[in-house]
Symmetry: C2
Subunit: 331 residues, 2 copies
Amino acid sequence: MTEPTTDVIAIGNAIVDVMAPCEDELIERFGLVRGGMTLVDTERAHELYEAMGPAREISGGSAANTLAGLAALGSRCAFIGQVADDQLGEVFAHDIRAGGISFATPARAGDPPTARCLIFVTPDGQRTMNTYLGASQYLPPAALDDAAIRDAKILYLEGYLWDPEEPRAAMRRAIAAARGAGRKVAFTLSDAFVIERHGADFRAMIEAGEIDILFANHIELAALTGKDDFHAGIDALRDKVPLVVVTRSEQGAVAAWNGSLAEVPAVPVERVVDTTGAGDLFAAGFLHGHVRGLAVEQCLRLGAICAAEIISHYGARPEADLKALVSGQAE
Amino acid sequence: MTEPTTDVIAIGNAIVDVMAPCEDELIERFGLVRGGMTLVDTERAHELYEAMGPAREISGGSAANTLAGLAALGSRCAFIGQVADDQLGEVFAHDIRAGGISFATPARAGDPPTARCLIFVTPDGQRTMNTYLGASQYLPPAALDDAAIRDAKILYLEGYLWDPEEPRAAMRRAIAAARGAGRKVAFTLSDAFVIERHGADFRAMIEAGEIDILFANHIELAALTGKDDFHAGIDALRDKVPLVVVTRSEQGAVAAWNGSLAEVPAVPVERVVDTTGAGDLFAAGFLHGHVRGLAVEQCLRLGAICAAEIISHYGARPEADLKALVSGQAE
């Protein structure tokens, strides 16, 4: 087997974020799930956009954000995800390629349009996401490039995309391709609602040993394992998943592997401007260290640095020079 | 004649800005006019977008930015400008309406698409703009609402839009409507290239007494008057234009009216992040004071405060609470 030429290939939603600050009152008025992600249809998206203040558009998508961080750190990345053949699709494709990420999934013709996520950012910096999935949810298994998957050290999958049927089938096929080539599969649970709907799938995959690296936050960990106690949750997984990485917001992050446990504090920031992408960029830093064979503690530290950068400004794509930020921390 | 219910109605380009940081080397390599605005065709826009890093999209357009500032300060505003019936057109229309600005110009069907401005921001914060005018340049005179123009204290016109033929005809008609109703006409010269092409028009309008308030920066002032000396330039205009307002970047701004002259220093900022919209927001602050009948010195001060806010972050639409920033300065 030849050496992979890609570090991480990811399958995820191809989304443009539409972001605006809002007062807490708006979250209440529209009954939004504060801090969460809710899928919305065309009508609801329209209603929420009407209520949103002047906004800015920045490419997003959980796994795509992670790749943007990885590529900025110097990892070699490829993305699989589907936009529509429209202006927002061009924006997404431009931004991901301009970040140095290989992206070859063809744009889907006709309706629905490219996915967008209406993100309301409250004064505390918390983001409340309302996603219209559009073309992204119809990513067909045929869009996969099995050779590209075999050519990457890690296949990274976004739990959000487990919800719609076609991408779920695509991801199952991708897991088989990666495992068949002896590659690692990394999975992020994304949001508690995904676990509510698909927890049985995830638990079965974990039991079957199909997931090598599992990313979750503490809420998702509890939802998946049914354990309210954080350490009990980790204990429930550690025999089945070689590497479990759990973020705990301002309490930092923990990794468990091979009988060991490591922990890092969160990197302090002057002001939390917008938490969008915190978990995505944590995964970016962690995986960048991991594909370079760094110690787990160092991987956690890189994750914490990248997460701190992303919550210091609007948008889930890095603005500062991540390489410079992590220099001296590793390598 | 009834009292106007709108403070400022503006006619301008309806543009979405596509902004990214870049190194100075890129400006050289593509032969861009550093700090200036250059019109580009589809092909050149494509070439420049290819070379641009990951970007963000924020609504722009010079006069539209000015209205966004005015509305944020509490002035009642209306905008006339043309987008296409596409996603970027929806973005522009949403952002301007969400800012509380009346906007009723119908979107234009079919090609070309909505205007966009590719803005490269160099490490010194200077912006270099490359504008693809798209649907904006076909604003037809028929899109004007003469009643709305008569109902505004000030008609504000953007020099950039003098270049294409249809909007120029529309603006000439708007000037006649405003003057016929006894309203003031404010004009911003926008860029030296506009004066190169249309200086004769502007000088004729000034001679004819059609412009009540003229906004320019020091470079545009020199281009219009042919006087390299700043004060000679102002002297050349002050008998013909009741109120001349000239911005001088970090040297502040000057206004000349009725034999008087007033000057304000620039408001210092911690770091110049992106100069896009500095002149637009200066005009916003100034006009907000002017429609409230404040002294010219106070109008200048409001302009300087708004300009300082806009250059402290990416994008030409205000992010901070402008009302709070100017409170105590006036009213």
